[in-house]
């Protein structure tokens, strides 16, 4: 399971980011969300949702000890691993990074995306 993105449909509302931080951390802070909207708000007005693509071959954890399955289920990551992502998909704030754990199988962000820019792909 992963979250599929259709950038063209994204309205840039930030609701996905808000519910992500709320669900995982009981706070609202869009900087601490596994999904983030990259906005080109002063030029094309295009918005691009970015989040973990759940790669089979995880470049971010290459050479690391421990099971990758465990890491996949974690929301808070360290910035070193996040910086290895070739897609720049994880949000980083100070020394922490935020990784999409798919909310344990019931992604919350999808429920608030009214233009349907994000959806579940099996």
């Amino acid at each position: 399971m992963k979250i599929k993105v259709d950038s063209k449909k994204c309205s840039g509302c930030h609701l996905c980011e808000m519910v992500c931080s709320l669900f995982h951390l009981n706070i609202i802070n869009i900087e601490k969300s596994a999904i983030r909207i990259k906005k080109d708000d002063l030029n094309t007005s295009l918005n691009t949702p970015l989040l973990c693509r759940q790669c089979k071959e995880m470049k971010c954890l290459e050479g690391e000890k421990g099971t990758k399955d465990k890491a996949k289920k974690r929301f808070v990551w360290n910035r070193i691993h996040a910086e290895r992502c070739p897609f720049d998909a994880l949000s980083i704030l100070e020394e922490k990074a935020y990784h999409c754990d798919l909310c344990g199988g019931d992604p919350q962000c999808i429920k608030v995306c009214t233009p349907k820019a994000i959806s579940i792909a099996q």
């Binding site: 840039g12 509302c13 009981n26 706070i27 708000d41 002063l42 608030v112 009214t114």
Partner: protein
């Protein structure tokens, strides 16, 4: 925590900033946004306060729920208006309000005047004053880009003025993003008078939530039911231009400075569908599920290569039909020009309509206007926009807004359709009597957003209306009966809505099923553990509206000013679906009597002492 947000008192003369907590008692009385802004403004408001003096406070205020899962994340900017000379207030969407909150602030009260151009940079509780010499004369979009570049952070949100604000054009706006504007009442000129080019904010602070699980569940429930309403579905598809169609079809549109009220079938050229070829998608303000904002691109024609956001219905009317202009591409371009210069599209259109009618009637001629001012000439409109923003020649006279009547003579006065020295907008209110009363009583002068009971358009059964308004209201759009109650009810609700940071369109505006006090009460309780009853919230609405009225009373405003332009009383609509409609002075007065009674104001429209005491406004 929402309730931990601070207020900063910034003085640009001595470059000082004092950061204080917002007392819980003040929150309970005025919530945030417009409400708390009005409280701060009322501390220094007087008839003698010069709007362009350093003493006039320019107040930024995020709504109580701005930056959280609410129905919008808007903010208000408030000061004494250099346009009307009375209360100034403008509400704006976009991402700035939420960023201000993330930076730890609810309100900024800016006074003084800097010796040279500056901008404020606010980040996570800290305030810096930065030099803005390099930003001088830049348009509002370039200013935002340059500040982001200078600060090295693409996530910085900026509210800025353009050339119009710098030049003290009395109807200059304050802008963020490509289109969002705190446009009404000329607050861009107040900002310019302080030598303040922009306010930049950036924040990464947490907002703790009182009951996260129930709050998220409640939000989802509210969002789901909102998205099921026909109104929000249509809004998300077409944006506000869909309202143009109603106004034109029913005959309450301003055409050639309200000499007519419909353009009939010619209106197809400006309807929502006509915008589709230029629309490249829909956008949302921060935290809004409805996405009603168009982004546009013009890939061919005279204005090829222009892209941006908008236009909204208000701009289509104001720069379009009001000026006899039916060229959609010209309207889109003119709107974009206003946004870049930082001009309020509504007031700009109104003043141009005024001088076009003066020109039509021979009250002014080309010796003064420099160019012929013929109705519907798009290129003339663009030329005037440049001259106004640059204060060049005739534009310098127009830049003075209502004060330009000094140059045009006594005969010009009645053709500037205005209320409390603030011009009528893109509509004509002779048909919808509730709209007319709402314009007459609005605390920021002729403005539809203080009350506009759009539900009136729907013609809901009277038993349904009685349930909503708790009293008899006629379901006929053109009737007077009960409309005083309707206006009063919406004024209070909208005051609360603006203080929460919610968007008009997502509360009771065009859908009777949208949230109001009961839902607001729960929202506040679940997010911050503050318990305010639905009726208590309505009292807050009364307090805010009455405080605004009290500031106007200090200016000498009373019943005599709660009126409509002469044209509305004396000239019936000449043709179209609303043909023959005119406002009866007697019936208008009856509506006003009912309205004052419900507000607890005396027959002159002055709030009664016992009511002020009840609302805690008697100190």
């Amino acid at each position: 925590m929402v309730l931990d947000r601070k207020v900063a008192f910034i003085n640009l003369t001595d470059r000082s900033a004092e950061i204080k907590s917002i007392p819980l008692d003040l929150r309970k009385k005025f919530l945030g946004g417009r409400g708390i802004n009005m409280y701060y403004l009322s501390q220094s408001y007087s008839s003698k306060l010069d709007p362009l003096s350093p003493e006039n406070p320019l107040i930024f205020g995020a709504g109580l729920l701005t930056g959280t899962l609410g129905f919008g994340s808007r903010m208000s900017i408030t000061a004494k208006s250099p346009e009307s000379g009375h209360l100034g207030d403008a509400n704006v969407g976009g991402d700035f309000g939420a960023e201000l909150v993330k930076a730890g602030f609810g309100h900024l009260v800016i006074t003084g005047k800097s010796s040279g151009p500056v901008y404020l940079f606010i980040k996570n509780g800290k305030i810096e004053i930065q030099d803005a010499q390099k930003l001088k004369a830049l348009d509002t979009v370039e200013t935002q880009k340059k500040i982001r570049q200078e600060l090295g952070d693409e996530k910085v949100q900026v509210m800025s003025i353009g050339l119009a604000g710098e030049n003290g054009v009395r109807f200059a706006s304050i802008r963020t993003g490509l289109k969002n504007s705190a446009a009404r009442t000329g607050l861009g000129a107040v900002m310019g008078s302080k030598n303040l080019k922009a306010v930049a904010v950036r924040g990464t602070l947490d907002i703790t939530i009182s009951d996260p699980r129930k709050y998220q569940k409640y939000y989802l429930k509210q969002m789901k039911s909102l998205m099921e309403t026909k109104w929000v579905q249509a809004l998300g598809r077409y944006g506000t231009p869909l309202l143009f169609q109603y106004a034109n079809a029913m005959g309450f549109l301003s055409v050639r400075n309200n000499q007519w009220t419909t353009v009939g079938d010619h209106g197809y050229a400006l309807e929502a569908e006509a915008l589709e070829p230029f629309s490249t998608g829909m956008l949302s303000c921060f935290g809004c599920p409805a996405h009603c904002r168009h982004r546009f691109s013009m890939d061919e024609g005279r204005y090829q290569g222009t892209s941006g956001e908008g236009p909204e219905y208000a701009s289509i009317g104001s720069l379009g039909t009001k000026l006899g202009n039916l060229d959609l591409q010209n309207i889109i371009y003119a709107t974009e020009l206003c946004n870049r210069y930082g001009l309020d599209t509504i007031s700009t259109g109104s003043y141009i309509a005024w001088v076009m009618e003066l020109y039509q009637r021979g009250i002014i001629d080309q010796e003064m206007t420099e160019i012929p001012l013929n109705w519907g000439n798009g290129e003339t409109i663009l030329e005037l926009l440049h001259r106004i923003a640059q204060r060049k020649g005739f534009g310098n006279i127009l830049a003075e807004g209502p004060l330009a009547k000094k140059a045009f003579g006594e005969n010009s006065k009645d053709y500037l359709l205005n209320i409390k020295n603030f011009p009528i907008e893109m509509t004509d209110e002779r048909l919808p009597k509730s709209f007319a009363l709402g314009m007459a009583t609005s605390t920021r002068g002729a403005c539809h957003m203080r009350s506009r009971p759009s539900l009136d358009v729907l013609g809901l059964p009277e038993d349904v209306l009685k349930k909503i308004y708790k009293g008899p209201v006629s379901s006929r759009f053109s009737a007077y009966s009960g409309k005083g109650r309707m206006v009063w009810w919406h004024e209070l609700l909208n005051a609360v809505c603006d203080s929460l940071g919610f968007c008009r369109f997502l509360t009771v505006f065009s859908s009777p099923h949208a949230p109001q006090y009961r839902q607001f009460s729960k929202w506040i309780a679940l997010s911050m553990g503050l318990f305010l009853t639905p009726s208590g919230l309505r009292t807050i609405g009364e307090r805010i509206y009455t405080l605004e009225r009290m500031m106007l009373v200090r200016d000498g405003i009373s019943r005599k000013d709660d009126t409509l332009p002469k044209r509305y009383f004396d000239e019936s609509i000449p043709e179209g679906p609303a043909q023959g409609e005119v406002i009866s002075r007697d019936k208008f007065n009856e509506m006003l009597d009912e309205y004052y009674r419900l507000h607890g104001w005396d027959e002159e429209g002055i709030p009664k002492k016992k009511n002020l005491k009840r609302l805690g406004l008697d100190e």
